[in-house]
Amino acid sequence: MSRSRADEEEYWHSSKCRAFTFDDEDDELCQLKESKRAVNSLRDIVDDDEDELEKVSWSGEPVGSISWSIKETASSSTSSLEGRDSSLQKGSSSNAALPKQVSSYSLSSLFKGRNKLPSLQSLSDALSDTGVKNYAPELRRPKAEYKDYSSDWSPKDTVRRMQRGKVCSLERFRSLQDKLVLLDEAVAGHDGNVITAVLIFLKRTLRREILFRELEERQVALCHLIHFLKETGEQKMLLDLLRFLDRTEEVALSQYREHLNIQDVEKRREFLKGCIGLPFSPEDISHIQDHYTLLERQIIIEANDRHLETAGQSEIFRKYPRKASILNMPLVTTLFYSCFYHYTEAEGTFSSPTNLKKTFKIPDKQYVLTALAARAKLRAWEDVDALFTTKNWLGYTKKKAPIGFHRVVEILQRNNAPVQVLQEYVRLVEDVETRLNLATKYKCHDVVIDTYRDLKDRIQLMAYKCKVERGSAEEEKINSILNNTVRNTCFLL
């Protein structure tokens, strides 16, 4: 350590990293290397006004700052070493020579800067081969190093120190130029924690517009500031920033986001009303409008129904008490609810399904699926029937669905529809294979039999005979078909 001064001079004369042979603190060695690299690479970071930059932040400084820091830490490490627990001396055999440094690897991060010893025993156990030697030097790292003695760290060194978790005062970076160099160094150092720390400092010491202007060209740093503002909940500044950047859609979304934090429904409704005027994209505006209208509706429905329920006069509410409030539910859930409790209401009421369908332009498909699920749950099979029945101009009825009938069957089945109801829809499944599968699965014998008959599949039909009950109507049907077909085929031949 006492050699430091000489070595220092040697270094600065030769200007080769190689020549630098301090053997006490690893930190300084790398800082040197880094500073050099920093100088060389600075061109890459700020390529426009490099001349000026180098003048401002580098003229004469590196020499002073580094040598100073070496002296400082060197002396402080001696002093703190004296007051150290004696067990350390036992632990690190090469103590006197202050080991040629040496990796702090893993453990550098583990015991950084604590001045008490951990349980040495277990640790050396753990590290059988790397052992004490490797982390012992780390343990002697003086606490003093944590304090920022110098106000002269170069931007690069400052960033480097901060990356290692050391406290560094940033107050000396007062000119805008210095601040920006510091920020660029932080970004180049890849450590988001440090980037944010520098941004906190810049935010405190620069007028917003200036900070925003500079960040516009520094996308990585900008992301960090935005994320930081989101996390700390500095909504106002966030919005100012987004506005400055002309990211109007994000302004709108980020304001809209606040509704999530409003518990009171009335307040939430009011808030959403205010959101309608925000600069969303054209398609999103309609979504926001719908969100507002939906909540408005839900508030009305909720008030009515709560009243109905407590009055106890409505049969449906008595039979099926509501499990939860409809407030803040999605539209489809609201539709389900209204199909469940308010199915027969005239279109004029807010709670009627048709009204919801119209107001929110719910596609047929979605409407039918939802209504079907709700009515099936109530086992209102006539309603289900009506949902799919259309009359043509001659007055004949026909079954039609905007969704596949296999889907209809699935929903009915899940609601334990009786076979009679089920088979009517299984019959309507277009794809023969699916139809057969469903019919067999749900024991819709009639459908199976008819399908095989239409397919003229004698063998399958005979096989199926074993699956129906003996002496049942189904068996009879199969028999009669089998006999008939025989006759028919004969006839045809």
């Binding site: 790398c30 991060s109 277990s122 980037i195 906190i200 996308q219 979304l253 719908d290 969100h291 889907r407």
Partner: protein, 616 residues
């Protein structure tokens, strides 16, 4: 894949050291606050903590009561409070509230915050702003690495994904670099490093810097891990979005494996209570089925049951002495095996039940069509119906993302209609989710006339200088095109098939997705390791839009050594069970060992959930 050249797979290094290091440091930190104290633990640190320590260890170091850090105020009466937390602004406010409340009521206590894995300046700023800086002492518990299994090390940082890929925040890069430094010091030196992705590159650079700084003499140390491969999650979203088909993946998708263990509920245990099961190589049943395609698991389990029965049956006809031996030596093992078997059979049943309810078959068919690029219309209407029926919000989102990535974005009409229906089915506030998905590039809308991909690719070929690099930098957070179809063709990700793919005797990594698709992430790793670099993959790289690197480290590579056949696969942003299964398969084929280092074990569900906005 030449299975004739198969060599023995090297044994994984012993990662137990990592646990001991973490435990010892925690104990040391607890001792820094002598005397009895109450410990407040952040919810997401509890499971990791469980894996390395237990309550009695904490008690031994004078921890009195344990609390969970949550929104409710603390009721602790202790004079010393210790907080074991992730470095989050929200948590700092919680702690500051406690301290300030004490101050108001004139109560004086000691407070200590232990940050894991590291402290952030932003946290200190909050403490300062709240006026409690100085009232609390801060420490760091450098618990970067939790070995979950013999070949899985997790950083247990699920938020890495959102923080980096969505918010563009580099806060965890230093943590990854330190984790690499620790692994390199214990199991390295790594002689070769490969990587793809911006984040991979940054982590690598920062790690190298740390190494240079410490200049550890690694001379004479025998490395156990020779190669590392770093990969950004956004290199391959497709694989992470596919329905998992290997047993471990299905268990994760169905029950959520948390920190290497799973809670099997009553439907699995066929009793009225839940059982927490550790899933790892030590579980003799699980270790044999974890990597298997689900369809071959049943056969294995029933075979195993028969064997077990046979072993039990040997009791008959035993004399007293033999019986004594049997009871004292074998019975315990058999019972244990029996317990595990019945649990995994129960889990299989439960998975089957859930999957048949969700028309899994149809979904897999739709997924495979998307991967292959057939019947896109049909798959789109399947997704639509999925949304309309309010099946699962996460699954619907996953399918939409898969559609978007494989198709290079949805056409505007589909995008609008699916989005509208989604908002109607699952709630209007998902507008925010869609915005996030667009930003991260998982669910995008094709710009009008974006079919001119040929022209575009020619242009991007021309623009390869640094200026272009800067432009891409600037739009870092903007969605980029996935080019999945072209990449898939180039790398042959969809296996050509004649006849049935035998899932019981897999011939390539595609088995993890029923032989329909080879995971892109794993294919890249395979190709690069085979070529010992990126030569010949230029076209793929261009399509991937990736920042790749390949560097030889200082240490001499000595071929043939086990370390040279051990690869540390680092997944930044998460790795799925399917990917691990695929690489384990590759390892067995090539005689090499993969060790997985991931920021967290992930799944499509977790990725999708990370995109939602929640209350502050």
């Amino acid at each position: 894949m030449a299975s004739t050249a198969r060599r023995d797979v090297p044994e994984p290094p012993d990662f137990g050291i990592l646990k001991r290091l973490a435990r010892d440091q925690l104990i040391y930190l607890l001792e820094q606050l002598p005397g009895r104290k109450d410990l407040f633990i952040e919810a997401d640190l509890m499971s990791p903590l469980d894996r390395i320590a237990n309550v009695s260890i904490l008690k031994q170091h004078e921890v009195d009561k344990l609390y969970k850090v949550e929104s409710r105020p603390a009721l602790s009466t202790s004079d010393q409070l210790c907080f074991l937390v992730r470095p989050r602004v929200k948590t700092m406010k919680y702690i500051a509230d406690i301290v300030n409340a004490d101050k108001m009521s004139g109560r004086s206590r000691k407070y200590k915050i232990i940050f894991s894995p590291q402290k952030f300046y932003a946290c200190e700023m909050v403490l300062e702003e709240e006026g409690v800086f100085g009232d609390v002492t801060c420490d760091e518990w450098s618990f970067y690495l939790l070995p979950l299994d013999e070949d899985i090390i997790s950083m247990e940082l699920p938020e890495f994904f959102r923080d980096y890929f969505l918010e563009g925040d580099h806060r965890w890069i230093n943590s990854v670099a330190r984790a690499l430094q620790l692994l390199n010091s214990l199991y390295g030196p790594f002689s070769r490093a490969y990587g793809i992705g911006r984040c991979a590159k940054m982590c690598y650079e920062l790690w190298r810097e740390l190494e240079e700084e410490s200049e550890g003499d690694s001379q004479g140390r025998k490395p156990e891990i020779g190669n590392i491969f770093l990969m950004d999650r956004d290199t391959d979203y497709v694989t992470a979005l596919c329905s998992q088909m290997v047993y471990e993946g299905l268990v994760d998708d169905t029950f959520r494996i948390k920190c290497g263990s799973v809670d099997f509920g009553p439907e699995v245990t066929s009793s009225d209570k839940s059982i927490k099961v550790l899933l790892n190589a030590q579980d003799k049943v699980f270790s044999q089925i974890r990597n298997e395609h689900f369809s071959s698991v049943f056969g294995f389990l029933s075979q195993k049951s028969r064997n077990l029965q046979a072993q039990y049956d040997r009791r008959r006809g035993m004399d007293i002495k033999q019986m004594k031996n049997f009871v004292s030596q074998e019975l315990k093992g058999l019972k244990q095996e029996h317990r595990l078997l019945s649990l995994h059979i129960g889990a299989c049943e439960s998975i089957m039940k859930k999957k048949t309810k969700q028309d899994f078959q149809e979904m897999i068919k739709a997924e495979h069509s998307l991967l292959e690029g057939f019947d896109i219309r049909e798959s789109t209407s399947f997704i639509e119906e999925h949304i309309d029926r309010q099946v699962s919000p996460i699954e619907s989102l996953r399918l939409m993302c898969l559609l978007s990535i494989t198709e290079n974005g949805l056409n505007p009409k589909d995008y609008r209609s699916l989005k509208t229906q989604y908002l109607q089915s699952y709630g209007p506030e998902h507008l925010l989710t869609f915005h996030n998905l667009k930003r991260i590039g998982l669910l995008t809308e094709q710009a009008a006339g974006e079919t001119l991909t040929a022209v575009e690719s020619r242009v991007s070929k021309l623009v390869t200088d640094r200026a272009a690099g800067k432009i891409t930098d600037a739009f870092n957070s903007l969605a980029r095109k996935s080019n999945f179809r072209a990449i898939s063709k180039k790398l042959g990700l969809i296996p050509r098939l004649d006849g049935e793919y035998d899932l019981k005797m897999p011939r390539d990594m595609a088995y993890v997705f029923s032989g329909a698709y080879t995971p892109l992430s794993c294919k890249i790793i395979e190709q690069v390791l085979e070529r010992r670099g990126w030569q010949g993959l230029e076209e793929v790289l261009r399509l991937l839009n990736g920042t790749e690197f390949s560097e030889a480290g200082a240490a001499e590579a000595s071929p043939g050594r086990d370390s040279q056949r051990t690869v540390l696969a680092v997944f930044l942003g998460g790795c799925t069970c399917s990917e691990m299964a695929a690489l384990r398969f590759l390892g067995r084929e090539r005689g090499c060992r993969f060790i997985f280092l991931t920021t967290a074990v992930t799944s499509s569900g977790r990725l999708m959930e990370a995109m939602a906005e929640t209350r502050a």
